[in-house]
Amino acid sequence: MTADENRDLEAEVRAYVGREVSAPKRGKDDVNLAMIRHWTEVTGDENPVYHDPEFAAKSSKGGIIAPPTMLQIWSMEGYSMCQEPELDVQRELHKVFDAHGYVGVLGTNTVTEFYRDLRPGDQVTAHTVIDNISERKTTGRGVGYFIETVTKFTDQSGADIGRQVFRVLKFKPNAETAEAKTSTAGAAAEKPALPTRIQAPRGHDNAWWWEAIDQGKLMIQRCKGCGSLRHPPRPMCGKCNSTAWDAIESSLDGEVYSFTELHYPKFPGYPYPLLCAVVQLREGTRLIANLAGCAPEQVFIGMKVKGKVERVDDKTMLPNFYPA
């Protein structure tokens, strides 16, 4: 693109600065308990001031309030936004950029100010203007312009209740980025990777054990001084103080020494409910591992188990113990 073309584009888009994106948008629903509940369920926010009338009445809020972060939610277009969005001034502006090859769009950041708590029954109206368009910038994603919109939120009495600055980058995707996108545009590439279990940090004293697990083997550290076995591995023998050691491979025969069924909190990458046990190995040491192939109510302390080192997700090999 030539300097002239850039100048043309910039002149065209700068005319949008200061314009209202559309007529003020009144929220389709007033602030209400059902939407508050959906929001807090999804975000996992258990603060009772959002749902427990009795608690809220006694709190400093004096009654139920909406989570402040829902401010923008109340005036959102809803489902129609992803069907046939209305061609407002902001979308028009984006089309101007598109026509000049700036087809990429990336939300970069928002800054929100909250002036008062919203309560069920409040009506929220959003007034959005195109506030600023930056100079032409070179970014990691490509060359582009930052567009800033400012939304003022008002209530039923016309009083200001909050303000939000929203910043997006409209950019010309880098050649290589675009290429990478094309080459992986198959259906499989669209799928986000599944979360995996938290990986064991590996250091001087434990990495060898996890590397053996990766090879399908459960090892037990053995002191070269006195022959005693120890787990978890430690750099020195507490019995004879020898720092020399080797390891034996476990038979994977054992029994349940204690166990629990994990329900909550649920962490990404783990299947719940998840059975976890202290397993007493035949060799004499114990370790923590998951139980598999049995229902929780079948598990008991003293149950004989047989281990198997296996892949549990894309990144993780672990010993699992099955009823023997």
Partner: protein, 391 residues
């Protein structure tokens, strides 16, 4: 050899912020307020303070708290590791400093945004709060990530060995809740609950359900420790530290001591109890009320055994007989405990134990409280203190 620490130091001031789920301010603000309130309670000025003790996991530097409150020169600053296991360890540091003259007036504090900030129930799932990443590598991939999960493992085996049922766990949860109902500072103030609510609450880690687990709280607490001589001239009747001990027992891990001969026991607390009793020549029969660390219901049972209120395996019956209740043998967690008041890592417990000896608990037992026990967190290296009136 028994430590000569008994009656060498007294607690002369206590202070707490409000307890909440979202303090809306910094942990430093909480710490400063708690410390200032404790000094006001004692009738001391910030410039009287020459020592500060807290937890290694506390995010408030001693000097920052000192500057915020306007303290002068400090001659002692010290920190105790192992989460809630540090609670009464702060008293041991303060008492040693006061007894040896290293410092004359020491403030012990703990302040945290334990709900709105780093949530304690999330355990080691996020950024490790302890730095001991290799240690937790043996548990994280298996999903054993939270304090509740570690405690559940000990609990299941304890129940298996002793025949203890959920009836005893309920009694602990229920008795502390009943105390909290009367305590305006408690999260569960005026919110009693039923057995049905307890039994149907969310499952956490078998056999623990929601109400077997303590609060996650924002708040701060502080106590002021000084010499018995100075204590006599102050506003409040001094509360003597009769005995105070901490212990990390053989083969201890932080929360995951799964490899000992028997895991359904807490030898570190047994040893701390022996030591604290030996220091002051007292025994379980001399303890009139207690604040027993209750991050989870079952850990109260094990501590009752450690401190000799009953034999091993008998705590469930001791509890079910109503002994923790207002008229019982050992009114316990009269503030509502960490299950029902707030989870300030046991320092709100120290504050309550001081009130019990002063006679100012919101649930003050009818009988005289000559000695009150207060303990630290369980599963970690731990300890306890025996508090009594001025001698």
């Amino acid at each position: 050899m028994v430590a000569r620490i008994s009656d060498k130091a007294a607690i002369v001031g206590i202070g707490s912020t409000e307890f909440s789920k979202d303090s809306g301010r910094s942990e430093l603000a909480l710490a400063a307020e708690a410390v200032k309130k404790a000094l006001d309670d004692a009738g001391l000025k910030p410039s009287d303070v020459d020592g500060m003790v807290t937890f290694t996991i506390d995010q408030n530097e001693e000097v920052d708290v000192a500057r915020a409150v306007g303290c002068g020169d400090l001659k002692l600053y010290s920190r105790i590791p192992y989460g809630g296991g540090a609670a009464t360890g702060t008293l041991l540091q303060a008492a040693m400093a006061v007894a040896t003259g290293v410092a004359e007036t020491v403030v012990c504090y703990r302040a945290l945004n334990g709900r709105s900030g780093q949530r304690y129930s999330s355990g080691v799932s996020g950024n490790l709060i302890t730095g001991s990443a290799i240690h937790y590598s043996w548990y994280m991939p298996f999903g054993l990530l939270t304090p509740a999960s570690w405690v559940a493992m000990f609990t299941q085996r304890y129940m298996h060995l002793t025949g203890c049922s959920r009836d005893a766990l309920f009694e602990i949860a229920h008795s502390t809740r009943e105390y909290a109902v009367n305590n305006p500072a408690a999260f569960f103030h005026q919110r009693p609950f039923t057995r049905e609510e307890y039994d149907t609450a969310k499952k956490i880690c078998e056999p623990l359900r929601l109400y077997d687990c303590c609060q996650e709280s924002d708040g701060g607490c502080a106590v002021v420790v000084t010499t018995p001589e100075r204590a006599r001239d102050l506003k409040q009747p001094g509360v003597m530290i009769r005995g105070v001990a901490q212990c990390a027992a053989r083969d201890q891990e932080e929360m995951t001591s799964f490899y000992r001969e028997e895991i359904a026991r807490i030898p570190e607390m047994d040893l701390a109890a022996d030591e604290a009793y030996a220091q002051c020549g007292l025994a379980a029969k001399d303890i009139d009320a207690a604040v027993i660390y209750d991050a989870f219901t079952p850990i109260v049972l094990w501590q009752l055994e450690s401190w000799g209120f009953c034999n091993y395996g008998e705590a469930a019956d001791f509890v079910k007989d109503g002994n923790l209740r207002p008229g019982g043998r050992l009114p316990t967690n009269t503030h509502g405990g960490q299950l029902s008041e707030a989870y300030i890592h046991g320092v709100n417990g120290i504050v309550e134990a001081v009130r019990l000896v002063r006679g100012t608990s919101v649930n003050q037992p009818k009988k005289p409280v000559r000695h009150a026990l207060v303990t630290s967190g369980v599963g970690v290296p731990t300890g306890g203190a025996i508090l009594g009136g001025m001698v």
